[in-house]
Symmetry: D2
Subunit: 227 residues, 4 copies
């Protein structure tokens, strides 16, 4: 395949982009001044080089958020600004599917604990959930959570914050079951302490919801959560 | 105006119908067999004749729901099957905007109390809320609620179940303020008893919600209502 | 079934209306003042009673368009204002699927001939086209066209004006073949004269079209019809 | 601004991309394996380096379409495969807004002449059309067209193939007027020959069109172009 078709193909894998728009992207770049395309390439390289996967929560972050002097320095093993922030509640861990979910929650300003990013969701009927989400890594993380680097005590709550879509709910079930299993076993460091409780986000009417079109599940939850 | 244009105009006031579709309705009726159009006319007349506005909750209902023998009998003053059902929780009153909202909630099976239908919502900036909703009637209803016909005791909770749209929230505010005023005054029959509490439906993630696209308000509420 | 459900069912057969909106129509009528519902019923009855199917073009029309004095008078056998208008070109016949298509064309002011309304289209794979469209009636109409009542001469052109959708094109093919067959036979009154030519509406770019998204068929035709 | 935000900003200028999706692109790239991002960057560089703006029609093309040995070789002054193809009709010039329109027309296989790409359209009310489209360049091109490099004779037809949107029609008017002016003048090399005729693409029903929803302009043209 020539480079034109191959580039189209790569753009067609960008989130939300189909073949036709991928072709428009290529045309667009062909028509941009050389300096602008050079800047795009430089920024992609720079962002990618500076991006680190946090060793604790697995979100992607730009190293110099942490004030590292050399953008090119080795950053493996470093933790992101949220995980490194000792003012955040070390006893609460929220599990999210993707970085964009984490950002949405940070933006709300309503959560002050720590995160773990699964890296995706498990489609219903999928046989190998471990290939879609960081399940093993999550369980290890929970295991060493309370005794690890920060040494700030016990894990008190695990909040499962996944989409209320079929895939999201399926993933919630898988993760919940797996965590229950390790909490029940001996390998979790819950010496002299209770197991952390597991919660899920409250269901109810979202902003802009119309009762006429609300499903019974949402109405039940909205009634149960009335205040 | 000729009858054709006038009929189009009337159809154009049906919910969700514009002038073009109204015209298609007229064409459609013109092409239907005479017997079918006669049946439509008969049913409209029948449904309208049999429809009563419940004297208590103000929803529309068909009188023979109640086993009335003569569909043409005078039905003013009768109450609907929900208001007449003494097994429903007489201490809880849910305020909804429209009959369709009430139906949505009934369908969920999650609510066992009584209703009051406002008959609409108050648009933001609207100067005369009393013309859009049955506010006066609601206040009278609350006033006599606990001592009225059923005589089953005290009103314990008023649930405001309006859409979480701007108009819905605005209406919630207006209704809440008006109720507070009468609850604070002497005119409510809360002799020897506490005022009823006022609640609103719980906010949170509705079914199918995606965190990435959830607004901060919804996330805050979903976190607050986690369980 | 009770009259409420039956009325919902009838509304759900109105063009473009689903079960949910049908229910909203019923609620809407239940909440209208009795006088307004009575007017609706009166107008439906009036329009239906006054509507005649033109004996020539088969479109629906209101008799008093023609200045009939009594709206309730027997109108079978009458022709609509277009068919009765001797100033229109009697040698051109346009075949359309529905009354709304005819109205669209009349509104353009670009056509001055006569019409024939098929009453629908034939879905692809449909085995019995005669049940969906007035094919037999059309062929009789063409047969007697030039010698009939108006006696104004020969049919010179038949314009097939159907949607360019799959069903429309399928119907065009069926109608064209059937007309060809009778034009080839002896039974058409084309004594001493040529057969009428058959045409279809020109294909090309419609208003608001974007070349990037135009299909090859449309582009070919637009190029062929350039001017 | 940091490189993350700047990269988001650049993606937000891609055709059809808003700020939210631009952010998702950045997240997506952050999460891709380094080798994949490297391939993307390599292909963008390669495609951009190999892309030439045709000196005649101004479309973008990849030089090795023409069999150039060195992709990095100087390509200015070269012409694209269409302009260089002497088998194409040298007497017909089609004016299009964008490369994607040209591709759409090539795909239809219905056109065998040459092209000129304007590079955009002129929005209605725009005061400086020359900044939006290659008008000066087009006029020069037409001027030297018949006597230039190919030396194959006279320009016989100029086809204006722009969208039938308001901006497209406005651009058609501007270009038509400008061409008329030079054709009327002395400066065009139409020695001993007639001026080329100017045509626009035929209007009519596009594939899938429904008569009921067709505007009068489209119906008029479809009738005028019937065949």
């Amino acid at each position: 395949m020539d480079s034109l078709r191959r580039l189209e193909e790569i753009f067609a894998h960008f989130p939300g982009i189909g073949p036709r728009q991928a072709r428009r992207f290529v045309h667009y770049l062909q028509g941009r001044p050389t300096t602008q395309v050079a800047e795009l390439v430089r920024l992609i390289n720079e962002v990618k080089a500076d991006t680190t996967e946090c060793s604790r929560c697995h979100r992607y972050f730009i190293a110099n958020e942490l004030g590292l002097n050399e953008p090119g320095a080795k950053k493996s093993g470093t933790t992101c600004s949220i995980c490194a922030n000792t003012e955040r509640d070390q006893g609460t861990l929220m599990i999210v599917a993707r970085d964009s979910d984490l950002e949405s929650i940070e933006k709300s300003g309503a959560y002050k604990g720590l995160y773990f990013v699964l890296g995706g969701t498990v489609p219903i009927l999928d046989k190998e959930p471990e290939k879609k989400i960081r399940l093993k890594s999550l369980l290890e993380h929970i295991n060493k959570f309370s005794v690890a680097e920060n040494n700030t005590g016990t894990l008190k709550e695990i909040i499962l914050s996944l989409n209320t879509t079929p895939d999201g709910e399926h993933t919630t079930d898988i993760v919940k079951d797996a965590i229950k299993k390790i909490l029940a076993g001996d390998d979790i460091n819950t010496v002299n302490s209770e197991s952390p409780k597991m919660t899920i986000l409250g269901r109810g009417l979202s902003t802009g919801a119309e009762l006429e079109y609300a499903d019974s599940e949402t109405i039940k939850n909205a009634l149960g959560n009335r205040r």
